[in-house]
């Protein structure tokens, strides 16, 4: 449990490196967690080979949702979009270095859900994207 608020998580929450918006961008998507009203927007720029060159997130939410968004942005830069489509729940948990119960898992996975909906060009983000 103490792990849940590991220093790295608090640090990413308080001083995120990738908070903001990209204008112009190639991909942009936003969604809410209806449970707590957390909101995350993800903006990406990609090069001609569909490799992510820049990534930013914006929004508000708990330490878990914001830290996982920041860690995810760090991770995706330099990766091809096809590889991002393969990311799942376990990848996020590995980035955070913690295990989570079902309720907080939704907070942690919100940014990935938004990212994948954007990458796939979907109309809305569904939980199935991150199962």
């Amino acid at each position: 449990m103490d792990d849940l608020y590991r220093e790295v998580i608090i640090e990413h929450y308080k001083n995120p490196s990738y908070r903001g918006k990209l204008d112009p961008h190639d991909i942009s998507f936003a969604d809410n967690n209806p449970l707590c009203g957390d909101h995350i927007q993800v903006d990406l720029r990609v090069d001609t080979n569909n490799v992510v060159t820049e990534a930013r997130f914006d929004g508000h939410g708990c330490a878990i949702s914001q830290a996982s968004a920041d860690l995810l942005m760090e991770f995706v830069i330099g990766k091809p979009l096809d590889e991002l489509k393969k990311l799942n729940k376990q990848d996020i948990l590995d980035m955070l270095g913690i295990d989570l119960g079902p309720v907080r898992l939704k907070c942690a996975l919100l940014s990935l859900k938004v990212l994948k909906a954007g990458v796939y060009g979907l109309g809305e983000a569904s939980d199935e994207l991150v199962e």
């Binding site: 849940l4 608020y5 707590c36």
Partner: protein, 408 residues
């Protein structure tokens, strides 16, 4: 008479539970659902062990026992809120279903396009969405009594809305976020003056205050068992018998009929007209036991104890730098303390408190528009009931200092 909280706590076995080794639960989430005393658990257990049978029409011993227990509970509930007859108490699943019953049966028979329904900005989603759904179907109009900065209903906006001759006024007696106890009798009286029917959401008031539906002159009054020491899955709608008599049935099926032919039916009399299908029998019996439990303690004593705890809690929470409380002062509210802690999301507050066994709720508490009004996505909410103590408030305060330290 002041309550003996030490003795009362012995009735609630769950309060002894450890949520992790050596950490006993501090339950501050009764506004979401209350804990249940052994008297309620035993009443339901006893029914299943000794008297289980389907109610009504059975002539065997078990069916007669089950029926008299089920109907006996209704009598107790009617007396508890001072309905003039138990025919005016309809069993539902919960407050939400009670409000939906009015929206489906009364409102669809009585409201037409352009008719105005007045709600308030502090409503729970359960008293917003059914009317929004009706609006989509019927093009009724909705308008809202506004909430002031200190969490009270602005009765001036209400009075000006009344000049538009609403057909229905529906409001919460006590806010589940701000804790505000609204002046129900006055709101009802003013509504009646312009000929409106008035529905009261009593989900938070009936568990915590002495409620007299006749003295209030409410037309409909909705409440749930699970917030008042009873089980989930059962609630009640009080309605004046003249209104209920004139309303069409809600759900169709067994038990709500007098006579059925292949192409027609005649509806049963009150209250059965609104109770289709086998109901939650054990839960109704548990509801009755909960009412017995609260009646024995006395609702005025329950309210006085909660007031004392709430006053103390607000005072202690205010001392914490960075804590912002929502809602009116202790004299105008029930046992609810919704707050934010600067720099920390309510979810994180709740999660860190849980480590010390402290159960509070975080989120918009099914009142998203109210949170929007105050410009915040979410709050943490501690709520108090008859079994809570000042020592538990101290645990909460110490816990919040720990949260601050972590995010410091």
């Amino acid at each position: 008479m002041s309550l003996n909280i030490k003795e009362i706590r012995k009735d609630f076995p769950i309060l002894e539970r450890e949520t992790r080794p050596g950490v006993r639960v501090t339950y501050l989430d009764s506004t979401a659902t209350s804990q249940k005393p052994v008297q309620v658990i035993e009443a339901m257990n006893d029914y299943y062990r000794h008297s289980n049978a389907n109610i009504h029409r059975g002539v065997h011993t078990l069916a007669e026992e089950a029926t008299s227990m089920y109907e006996g509970a209704r009598e107790k509930i009617a007396k508890f809120v001072n309905a003039s007859s138990s025919r005016e108490i309809i069993y539902t699943r919960n407050t939400t279903e009670s409000i939906n019953l009015v929206a489906y049966s009364w409102a669809r028979a009585n409201l037409k396009a352009g008719d105005l329904v007045i709600l308030t900005e502090m409503e729970h989603h359960s008293n917003l969405v059914p009317w929004q759904m009706l609006q989509a179907e019927r093009s009724i109009e909705l308008d809202f009594i506004s909430v002031t900065e200190d969490g009270l209903l602005d009765l001036e906006t209400y009075k000006s809305l009344l000049s538009r001759r609403p057909k229905l006024v529906s409001f919460t007696h006590m806010s589940n976020v701000l804790g505000t106890i609204n002046p129900a009798a006055e709101i009802i009286r003013l509504g009646h003056e312009v000929g409106a029917i008035v529905l009261v959401d009593g989900a938070q008031s009936v568990p915590h205050l002495s409620v007299d539906v006749q003295a209030l002159d409410a037309d409909f009054y909705a409440f749930s068992a699970h917030k008042m020491c009873g089980p989930t899955g059962i609630g009640a709608l009080y309605g004046k018998s003249a209104l209920l008599e004139a309303m069409p049935p809600f759900l169709g099926g067994g038990d709500m009929i007098k006579e059925v032919k292949l192409r027609s039916f005649r509806a049963n009399s009150l209250p059965h007209k609104f109770e289709a299908g086998t109901p939650a029998i054990a839960e109704a019996i548990g509801f009755g036991a909960a009412v017995d439990y609260l009646s024995a303690l006395g609702m005025d004593n329950v309210a006085a104890h909660e007031h004392e705890i709430t006053e103390y809690a607000l005072e202690r929470l205010e001392e914490i730098p960075g804590v912002k409380l929502f809602g009116p002062s202790a004299d105008k509210k029930g046992g609810v303390a919704a707050f934010t802690l600067e720099g920390v999301h309510p979810h994180d507050v709740a999660q860190i408190l849980d480590r010390d066994g402290i159960a509070v709720r975080a989120g918009h508490h099914c009142a998203q528009p109210l949170h929007e009004k105050f410009g915040i996505p979410a709050t943490s909410r501690a709520s108090f009931y008859l079994y809570n103590t000042k020592e538990e408030v101290d645990l909460l305060v110490n816990g919040l200092y720990k949260v601050k330290e972590m995010f410091g």
